[in-house]
């Protein structure tokens, strides 16, 4: 019987890839271990080896095909003498994005149309679709062209173009003096960056992930954040620490943590956590120009997502200004970074139930635009916060406190913080899913604060 060869997942987060090249043709004998094809992902090109042996019966996907989903059959292997089936089996059915709602018994609410807020750039501006990854790269390239003092350093940022390919092309454009591969010591190269910033340059320090930045925490907190103060204003530290933060997929307890609350605690730091590509670009450009140390928290899962980015020569986004993505009247959803995915999805689903949710993307956590949150809560009288981090000492806790102090009389329900579970990230797929905040958590919280 013919064996289906499926599009492989070459990394835990790979969802699709390009079938760059077939290295076998129909009719070839294939041994286990033979290289069948070259598969390109957004991170790397990899060789794909045969597991079983047989005759290559049929190549189902032509070489050069892009966006081939993981687990799609790409070829059929047959035994000697076996006929090749006429048609390819049906492509793997796509799993629905979310499980269907369990049958609701109550009378159906009247659906409403979610109100999308206007884009935060001048009306009529032309836009292009761009991934967060490309937007980050463009932001760095534009700032490096604009200011000779800006340079990038970190593990694998040069020749390898970044562990997540954020620095794609930068080495070619700017050379090894401004795109510097470092030894594997977060503490060491963060210290070098801090020293160089004290010395007048404007380093961008890439951490392969913010989990590894724990090694460098002394340099970040005790030196970068505090020296301007301790030196009586003489020595400042204009530096950007950036890299992926939070959970990716199946990378366990030490590689999945969200550090938003940690850094936001520290006076002297500014903390940015963008969701969309346009904000990633505009905020990173502002971060590089900022005379203070900036923690720029990215997200591995968002890197590959596409958004509208304005076609403007010098698009910057100011710190301390939240963005309203949906306008609403019944509840305020406050989030940032990947939490926005759940907030927006929840808002759309809640609209089907007739609940109008306003969705606020904080974009920067320090400074935090609490005025926008308060103004929204004065209108909706209810608030749910959404973040991926742990529940104790969370960003949502701070927002709750601000609302208690400054909008207490406007609240018709307690503020609910949707967060990750209070456990180290487990590895097993089902456990990992349980540990993370979900759209359903957000919907349940909204139902609670709206008493439905």
């Amino acid at each position: 019987m013919a064996i289906e060869i499926l599009m492989p997942a070459l990394s835990p987060t790979m969802e699709e890839g390009t079938l760059a090249k077939w290295l076998v043709k129909e009719g070839d004998m294939v041994q286990s271990g033979d290289v069948l094809a070259e598969i390109e992902t957004d991170k790397a090109t990899m060789e794909f080896e045969a597991v079983d042996e047989g005759i290559m019966g049929k190549l189902l996907i032509a070489e050069g095909t892009a966006d081939v989903k993981v687990n799609t059959p790409i070829a059929l292997l047959v035994e000697e003498g076996e006929a090749v089936p006429d048609s390819a089996p049906a492509a793997a059915t796509e799993t629905p994005a979310t499980a269907p709602e369990p049958g609701r018994q109550s009378a159906p609410a009247k659906p409403i149309e979610p109100v999308k807020a206007e884009a935060p750039w001048p009306a009529g501006t032309k836009t292009k679709k761009q991934t967060v990854r490309e937007a980050l790269r463009d932001a760095m390239a534009e700032e490096m062209r604009r200011d000779e003092d800006v340079f990038l350093m970190g593990e694998e940022v040069g020749e390898y173009q970044g562990a997540y390919k954020i620095s794609q092309g930068l080495l070619d454009d700017f050379g090894s003096k401004r795109v510097i591969d470092t030894p594997i010591t977060e503490h060491g190269f963060a210290g070098i960056g801090v020293g160089a910033a004290f010395g007048g340059l404007k380093p961008i320090v890439e951490f392969m992930t913010f989990n590894f930045a724990m090694q460098a925490i002394d340099q970040i907190i005790n030196s970068a954040a505090k020296t301007l103060y301790m030196s009586g204003g003489q020595m400042g530290c204009p530096i950007v620490f950036r890299g992926p933060n939070g959970a990716a997929a199946r990378v366990g307890a030490q590689h999945s943590q969200d550090y938003a609350a940690w850094y936001t605690h520290i006076p002297g730091l500014k903390v940015v956590m963008p969701y969309s590509a346009s904000d990633a670009k505009g905020l990173l450009k502002s971060a590089i120009r900022d005379p203070n140390p900036v923690i720029f928290l990215e997200n591995e899962i968002l890197y590959g997502r596409s958004f509208d980015v304005p076609r403007l020569d010098d698009y910057t986004v100011p710190f301390g200004k939240a963005r309203i993505w949906r306008e609403g009247t019944d509840v305020t959803l406050v989030s940032f970074g990947i939490g926005m995915s759940y907030a927006l999805e929840a808002a759309d689903k809640l609209a089907e139930d007739g609940i109008s949710a306003e969705v606020i993307d904080l974009r920067t956590l320090r400074p935090m635009d609490t005025d926008t949150i308060i103004a929204s809560v004065q209108k909706t009288n209810r608030c749910v916060t959404i973040e991926e981090g742990f529940p104790v000492g969370a960003i949502g806790n701070h927002i709750s406190a601000v609302l208690m102090e400054q909008a207490f009389d406007y609240l018709d329900a307690p503020v609910i913080n949707c967060t990750g579970k209070d456990v180290p990230m487990p590895y097993a797929a089902n456990l990992e899913k349980l540990a993370l905040v979900t759209t359903d958590d957000v919907i349940a919280a909204v139902k609670k604060v709206t008493y439905r």
Binding site: G191, P238, G320
Partner: protein
């Protein structure tokens, strides 16, 4: 079966009840090492890393190739060095006294190590930056940092250039090439490497100097700094002050199986030299050589300054609990002030009488500034500066939420 595996727990040569014993320290004669070329490779610096560069012999004469290397350093320059050392000694004396009287919370002397900072600083140029530890106040003195600023910070009053935001002794002056001291040991060592890389990238011709004590060489910053300096080759002098004691921890606890700290630095591929830190001429000569090497673009260099911490670690420490009371007197490399004084007298440029007179003049000068600064308030008689300074310098610009908090405080 007998257990043949055992651990070692290094012990100092003498504890309080013992007679001081430095017999294990090998002191080669002055002038026995030559001057390497400026572009010497790490592999060719073995003798310098394991030996001890000395210029002044026991008779107070300057001898050997390193003496010739600084032949242009005339009697006036050496007298300047002597005055620098007398000045920091007077400052240390007066400020220790002030702490004992309750006028400041904390002080820390550099007694016995004065030659190192004083001799090194005079070889630097304007724009060069030291990343010091807390025992290099001698760098500030030799940079002619105003005594009023130095003492203002100790008393944390209106004369404090840092406006009450930093501990006493944690000085900071960009203009005088003295980077803000970090209380977390070691962090500044790798920052010196980064600063030097910035110098090289911007081509400003300036250099950096990192400083670390023998105890803090155990920190991972030391490793990261030496590795990074070896990898990128920036213009940095990496100084290791080996004063035998990290509070009560004997230096052997940080040396481990290494012969010297210089040898350890050399293992990273950086040329390294070990120097008699109580010999002002040796300090001046090796500093001059190191600064010239680094500024010429031949890459980093590491220097172990071999010395002895005569005073307590700080005003919070009583060393008689862990080492013999008279250990300092037994230190085989003597006292830096006495050695330079003897040399200058032998040269005919100085006398005992002039020395006594100079000591008195300098003490008077220091005491006068101290009295003036104390008139702005001390720990026992505080006259605090405006509370509004609490929000200054958190960020380069005053953010809205801090402006609001300042207003709420009434400023």
């Amino acid at each position: 079966m007998t257990n043949t595996v055992k651990l070692t727990f290094p012990q100092p040569p003498a504890r309080p009840e013992d007679t001081p014993d430095f017999s294990a320290i090998d002191i080669p004669p002055a002038g026995s090492l030559d001057v390497p070329p400026l572009d010497v490779e790490a592999s060719d610096s073995r003798d310098y890393a394991n030996g001890l560069i000395r210029v002044l012999n026991d008779d107070g004469q300057a001898v050997g190739p390193w003496a010739e290397y600084i032949a242009d350093l005339d009697a006036d320059a050496l007298l300047q060095g002597l005055r620098d050392m007398l000045k920091i000694r007077a400052v240390d004396k007066r400020l220790l006294n002030a702490q004992r009287q309750g006028k400041t919370s904390f002080y820390l002397q550099c007694t016995g190590e004065e030659a190192i900072g004083c001799g090194f600083q005079r070889q630097l140029a304007k724009g060069d930056m030291n990343f010091p530890t807390y025992r290099q106040q001698s760098l500030l003195i030799a940079a002619d940092y105003p005594l009023r600023d130095l003492m203002g910070q100790i008393y944390s009053n209106a004369c404090d250039p840092l406006e009450g935001r930093q501990l006493p002794i944690m000085h900071s002056s960009r203009e005088y090439g003295f980077f803000s001291i970090s209380g977390n040991l070691g962090t500044q060592y790798v920052q010196a490497v980064g600063w030097a890389m910035a110098n090289a990238l911007s081509g400003n011709g300036q250099i950096a100097a990192g400083w670390i004590g023998d105890g803090a060489t155990a920190s991972n910053d030391f490793h990261a700094a030496l590795l990074s300096a070896s990898v990128y080759g920036p213009p940095v002098v990496l100084n290791i002050v080996n004063n035998q004691w990290a509070i009560s921890t004997y230096t052997g606890v940080a040396t481990g199986g290494s012969r010297t700290y210089a040898a350890r630095a050399r293992g990273y591929g950086i040329p390294a030299l070990r120097v008699d830190g109580n010999d002002y001429l040796a300090v001046a000569a090796v500093s001059k050589w190191a600064v010239a090497r680094v500024r010429a673009g031949h890459g980093p260099v590491a220097i172990e300054w071999f010395t002895y911490r005569v005073a307590a670690h700080s005003t919070s420490d009583d060393p008689s609990a862990y080492r013999p009371k008279d250990e300092a007197r037994a230190w085989p490399l003597g006292d830096p002030v006495e050695r330079l004084k003897a040399h200058l007298i032998r040269r005919g440029a100085w006398s005992d009488a002039r020395h006594v007179q100079a000591e008195a003049e300098i003490l008077d000068e220091v005491t006068a500034v101290q009295k003036e600064v104390e008139s702005f308030g001390t720990f026992v008689n505080p006259k605090p500066t405006s509370p509004s300074t609490i929000f200054k310098g958190v960020y380069a610009e005053l953010p809205e939420h801090l402006r609001r908090q300042r207003q709420e405080m009434g400023f």
